[in-house]
Symmetry: C2
Subunit: 173 residues, 2 copies
DNA sequence: TCACTTTTTCAGAAGTTATTGAAAGTGTAG
DNA sequence: CTACACTTTCAATAACTTCTGAAAAAGTGA
């Protein structure tokens, strides 16, 4: 049977590794993991000590986590330090990460494809191949954007209760 | 009005930049872009020349693109060179990227959460916070896996025609 | 205002990932 | 078997990203 401290370390380690593939850097993900399993909000110093990282690093990554909307600041009366805690609803967290990634990845893609639609239309195979690729990607990006925007508007609760059952009922081709 | 060559360069450049945020490295994405807008299959040398990169780099990245299933090898009778072409259906390409990412990101996450369920259950706030996080993430990961697996089984055509309209009909909460 | 506490910034160091190019490997035709 | 045409590998290195720690800035109360 695994002990608590071992489990906590393993959890932080795992979330850090996984985070990288989700477009979140290792330390940012580790801080997120630490706050996720902490019942109370933690100060910069506590995070530094728990993860053995520098003040600058904690500050920078906590700021980013707040930009993503998945970590929040807490102020305690009579205390000048800032304390941080993570959003504990994992579905809401996933939605917010999705939202941020949509903004950072899909929106620039749509902008560029819009520019590329201005390429002179030629009858050559080269010209047609480019036109087709631009058209297809633009179409896809808009659809993906619509899907993600719609999902964003729905609560985490909705995801839990409805989305899965809807998907399950659709017959695979 | 933008000229063809300028458009092609811009397209390759854009796809390369975007690729990085989709978990595909810059060069791999640029090779993919080049093949996507090429009406004919290209040899290693042609890719090297078009993108100004080394033989080893082309070889390595083309291999990865084939592992992802979005680039294919073509052999021409009487020619010992290998020629490469990209899957031109952008929805199918997106599905294959999704599939690969599910395997690389979600499956290891599920494995680790399964291990972490073995942590001794304690009544302390620390113990309960860890147990809850592990439970929630495990539940989420299984759901996400089911959704993605279901989508994988559907054709690109299905995505185009059905998914969007289904999503659109669901009333946001 | 000053003295003190906490946060932010940023140049350089450390660490990570991608790329090259030459050498080794593979397959084929004569 | 040998020569050739191509592909693959991999150690060295280049390019890029993250992290540190000390200094500057910002905030607070007396």
């Amino acid at each position: 049977m695994m002990q608590l401290q071992e489990g906590r370390d393993k959890f932080i380690q795992a979330w850090g590794t996984l985070g990288s593939s989700w477009g979140i850097n290792r330390t940012m993900a580790q801080i997120h993991a630490l706050l996720l399993i902490s019942p109370i909000a933690l100060s910069t110093e506590e995070i530094m000590d728990a993860l053995g990282i520098s003040r600058g690093n904690v500050n920078m990554n906590v700021r980013s986590l707040m930009d993503w909307g998945i970590v929040h600041k807490e102020l305690r009366p009579g205390d000048r330090k800032e304390y941080f805690h993570a959003e504990k609803d994992i579905y809401l967290t996933a939605m917010k990460i999705m939202r941020e990634r949509r903004k950072r990845e899909l929106e620039p893609l749509i902008t560029i494809m819009t520019q590329l639609k201005q390429v002179e239309k030629l009858e050559t195979p080269e010209g047609q191949a480019l036109t087709k690729a631009v058209h297809d990607i633009d179409h896809f990006a808009h659809q993906a954007d619509t899907v993600l925007t719609t999902m964003e508007k729905m609560t985490s609760n909705w995801f839990t209760q409805q989305f899965l059952s809807v998907i399950k009922k659709i017959k695979p081709l």
